[in-house]
């Protein structure tokens, strides 16, 4: 199949890849750009393991064709935090035991990152609803919800003291 030239900004860097237009964004990220933090659980847009941030929206990258990502600005889990400076969400997930096998975790954190920008002071119910596009088979969600609420609280504290 003929390939197309795909230009995107991924985690702040401009990238160019040659890809079949039918390739899914999830596969381009994982296989062409070696960003394997974006996981694949279903390829049918049900599980959210492949969630990335695209043009300031959460998208399930298994349901976006590469060709649709032309010119997009994308943030994956690899773009949140660094080994020396974890993103607050990453720290809170660890602190509150919000992960077990870790397979859903990048999608969860990437979604939570966008969710907290949509709603900076969520209730527990808001979190449960806002995160309902992401499945986890290990944790039963209770500690994920706790981690996200704790992040919101800390972010608001930081804002107030600033």
């Amino acid at each position: 199949m003929e390939k197309i030239r795909l230009n995107m900004t991924v985690n702040g860097k401009d990238v160019e890849v040659l890809t079949e237009p039918r390739q899914l964004l999830a596969h381009v990220l994982r296989e062409e750009l070696n960003l394997t933090g974006t996981h694949i659980g279903c390829e049918t847009s049900h599980c959210g393991a492949c969630t990335v941030d695209m043009n300031d929206m959460s998208v399930k990258s298994c349901s976006v064709f590469a060709a649709q990502a032309q010119g997009a600005n994308i943030t994956t889990i690899e773009g949140l935090g660094t080994p020396d400076g974890l993103h607050l969400l990453q720290e809170m997930f660890k602190e509150h035991h919000g992960l077990q096998c870790g397979y859903c975790t990048p999608g969860m954190i990437t979604r939570a990152y966008r969710f907290l920008q949509e709603n900076g002071s969520p209730t527990e119910e808001d979190v449960r609803f806002g995160m309902s596009g992401n499945l986890c088979r290990c944790t039963g969600y209770q500690n994920i919800v706790k981690a996200i609420l704790a992040t919101a609280e800390k972010m608001n504290e930081m804002k107030e003291s600033a």
Partner: protein
């Protein structure tokens, strides 16, 4: 030696050992997306393989044409059974002593069965190839109902063994019959039941479902023809067993096979079995000379790669008028699908189903199980439970409820009356198990108090009254469950899989500067082994958990072990870890005695050091001892500080718990709202309370899914009707309630640290708690039994049949 010794507590805290909620060492990697799961593995020149799968549940394969597929750019090979036959790999042994087709050999026996393996440059090209393979099928009649498998005129499914009168587990009475397994005393039980004051009888069905880990199964095989070494990375819950089996069936010497389980994205039993994809990726690598990756998608996984449960349990339970249980009888029809690939220890073709006397002192019992072939996927894996224990727990907890209805007695009271008492342990069950320890009355009492049980019943009665008056359309259900698990398989004398004894292992090396590495025969799939096993060791050898690296899953480096499933890691490998730690300590004691110029017996262990008895100023820390062990010549002591332990447990462990669920049910819509879930677990000594709680949350959520909607369903043609996440229920954060957890602590008397294992308890105890809540809500209208999963439609149907929509 003049330094001031920090107080004991301070030194214990520094270890971060047993009993602390140590944060997980795995999380830094996982939260940054730096895990290394099998699909993340990328090798030079790697190809991708995927399956042509059968659209039919039962059909003859007349021909397979591969030319068109091979002509597609990027397609390298199409492998069929005919290609595997010369290698004798077209069939493979199953874990249950049966054989299974790797690729369709003349016929297909379930929908989604692997027919041909297309190897291509990448997954897209493989998909193009799959579409171009032409398979001609001739449809055959289908069996989806195990009760019809032995009727006159039933099609014979397994023609390969149609004439075999003896199976792996004894005589077969029909070509579609696999085995009959019996436990207990039939005559005595039937006599007791026929003479009893009260007998309750019920058919309890535990439906077919699937573990559905978020990550599906997959493998990457790389045959290095230069040095003759085969390396396979894959989603293996038992990497060492896979190596031995791979060697036995491929003829490749075991030292030339390296099996690696990288990070695993959840297993729940799904990743115990050996699947055609693993074999085909290996063969494809040998054929093409390139590494070959196989990753199934979610539909493949749900449809073809194992299943769980599917037990029809006919039960009778008898009691005196006062409610003392006298006997239990059970006949199970076990639907095993097309091949008997159940993951059970060899001597237990129905797993530990004979734990079905549960937490109760039942003097006489009998169980028989018939395994049956149908046109469904093979598997029968222990989905977040020890082998068939969740079926057993569900059965007895339902039978208790129906008996309570018959007796007109509160089921909490009935349980209390019949619990095995604390002073009866170790307790010999009527079906042959020796329960190691327990204190059921204390746990039960605590649970009833925690939910304010009496008040709840009052509220329920008031609600019922209001319903009858037409003031509400919502009922309250109170679901009780007291379960006893049997985990930690198991003693080699009676537990093996394919002849491999079910011990486990740990090897420890202490480095000269006093840090350490430990390797185990198990493999974490989210349980946090790297965190918890380091804690066990920290307490045993006095080295901080932070300074201990844990490694699992690479058969070239880890000691042999049978892997992680059936909650066996803590009971077996955890015990091996403690025992290896004790060996290290024993040697360290000799070294310390030499360094301090005293006799071994003059020393005592004090958290992280050996101290001269009566002279606490004189000591050697583990760190000092480690250095000396490598760098000082000590007479009669070999240099170095290493140990390995292979632990063969003397008995299983028996975790237990008391779970209560309170549910509101809308009779007009069949929708449910879970108001409260209280879960009290006793898993013996608690290694890491934070991780235990996390396991309980996760297991309860899987229990909720199973009880309330999750199902692998088939239509009459054998089509899977729930093969995607659209139809197969996996609860989201929105449907999942908050859980209240609590514990009691009854250490296992035979485990070196008293731990029993917990990962699976919440699933075993949770399913009856949720299901009993549904039944309980409709009890006063005459409902005794209704099959799971209790989705809205089924609940609405219960209400409808009971006439509640006319009320």
């Amino acid at each position: 030696m003049n330094e001031t010794i920090p107080p004991k507590e301070e030194r214990m805290t520094a270890l971060n050992g047993l009993g602390t909620s140590r944060k997980r060492v795995e999380d830094a990697r996982f939260t940054q997306g730096k895990g290394n799961y099998v699909d993340d593995i990328k090798l030079q020149g790697m190809l991708f393989g995927d399956f042509v799968r059968s659209p039919y549940a039962h059909a003859r394969v007349k021909s397979i044409k591969t030319e068109a597929a091979l002509a597609i750019p990027g397609v390298h090979a199409v492998i069929t059974a005919a290609d595997l036959e010369p290698l004798k790999l077209h069939w493979m042994p199953t874990l249950a002593g049966d054989v299974q087709m790797v690729l369709a050999d003349g016929k297909v026996l379930f929908q989604g069965q692997e027919v041909a393996f297309v190897v291509a440059d990448n997954r897209y090209a493989a998909d193009d190839g799959i579409k171009a393979v032409e398979v001609e099928y001739e449809e055959l009649p289908v069996i989806v109902d195990p009760f019809k498998a032995e009727l006159d005129g039933a099609p014979i499914l397994r023609e390969d063994i149609a004439d075999k009168k003896e199976g792996a587990h004894g005589p077969r009475r029909h070509p579609n019959h696999i085995f009959t397994w019996e436990s207990g005393d039939r005559q005595a039980t039937e006599a007791v039941i026929s003479e009893a004051d009260v007998v309750a009888e019920e058919m309890v069905y535990y439906h077919r479902t699937h573990p559905c880990p978020l990550e599906t199964c997959g493998s990457v095989a790389s045959m290095d023809k230069v040095n003759g070494k085969l390396t396979v990375w894959g989603t293996f819950q038992a990497p060492h067993a896979v190596r031995t089996v791979a060697s036995l069936i491929s003829g490749i010497a075991e030292h030339n096979i390296r099996i690696v389980s990288p990070d695993i994205g959840g297993g729940f039993g799904n990743k115990v079995g050996v699947y055609p994809g693993y074999i085909c990726s290996i063969v494809a690598s040998i054929v093409t000379g390139a590494p070959v990756k196989w990753i199934e998608d979610k539909m493949d996984n749900l449809m073809a790669t194992a299943f769980a449960r599917d037990y029809w349990m006919q039960g009778k339970i008898s009691a005196t008028k006062e409610g003392k249980i006298t006997g239990l009888w059970c006949h199970t029809t076990a639907d095993h699908g097309a091949f008997d690939a159940c993951a059970d220890p060899t001597k237990f073709p129905a797993g530990f189903m004979n734990i079905c006397t549960g937490s109760y002192d039942i003097p006489t019992a009998f169980l028989s199980v018939d395994g049956i072939y149908t046109n469904k996927a093979p598997g029968g894996v222990a989905y977040r439970c020890s082998f068939r224990v969740t079926e057993a727990a569900y059965f007895i907890e339902r039978m208790i409820e129906v008996l309570a209805i018959k007796l007109g007695m509160d089921s909490a009271e009935l349980r209390e009356k019949n619990f095995i008492r604390k002073d009866q342990f170790p307790y010999q069950s009527a079906l042959g198990w020796e329960y190691d320890s327990g204190d059921y009355h204390t746990a039960w009492d605590k649970a009833l108090k925690a939910v304010n049980y009496k008040e709840l019943r009052k509220e329920q009665a008031e609600r019922l009254e209001a319903f009858h008056k037409g003031e509400t359309r919502k009922l309250i259900g109170i679901g009780l469950s007291h379960f006893t698990e049997i985990v930690g398989a198991g003693p080699v004398k009676n537990c093996d899989i394919l002849g491999l004894g079910m011990f486990d292992s740990c090897e420890i090396r202490i480095h000269p500067t006093g840090s350490a590495i430990a390797r185990l025969g198990t493999i974490s799939q989210g349980q946090g082994h790297a965190t918890t096993f380091a804690q066990i060791l920290a307490s045993e050898i006095g080295i901080p958990a932070e300074d201990i690296t844990l490694e699992e899953g690479d058969t070239d480096t880890a000691p042999y072990g049978l892997g992680t499933y059936g909650s066996r890691s803590t009971p077996v490998a955890g015990a091996a870890t403690a025992m290896a730690g004790r060996k290290i300590r024993a040697k360290a004691q000799m070294i310390a005695a030499y360094l301090l110029e005293v006799h071994d017996n003059d020393l005592e262990w004090d958290v992280d050091r050996f101290v001269v008895k009566g002279n606490p100023e004189r000591f050697k820390t583990m760190k000092e001892i480690a250095f000396a062990s490598y760098n000082q010549a000590i007479p009669n002591v070999e240099p170095g500080l290493e140990a390995v332990s292979y632990y063969d447990p003397p008995n299983m462990t028996y975790p237990f718990g008391a779970y209560i669920c309170v549910m509101e049910i809308d009779v007009d819509t069949g929708t449910t709202e879970i108001r409260q879930v209280f879960a009290l677990d006793d898993c013996g000594t608690r290694i890491n309370p934070m991780i235990i709680e996390g396991q309980v949350h996760g297991g309860l959520t899987e229990a909720l899914a199973i009880a309330m909607g999750q199902e692998i369903a088939y239509d009459e043609m054998g089509n899977v009707t729930t093969g995607t996440l659209m139809d197969f229920f996996v609860p989201t954060a929105w449907e999942t309630p908050n859980y209240q957890t609590d514990y009691t602590e009854t250490p296992s008397p035979h485990h070196p640290i008293g731990a029993k294992g917990v990962g699976e308890s919440p699933n075993v105890g949770g399913v009856p708690a949720f299901s009993n809540a549904v039944h309980d809500a409709f009890k006063s209208f005459g409902l005794t039994q209704s099959h799971m999963p209790h989705d809205h439609w089924r609940i609405w149907t219960i209400a409808n049949k009971l006439g509640l929509h006319e009320m």
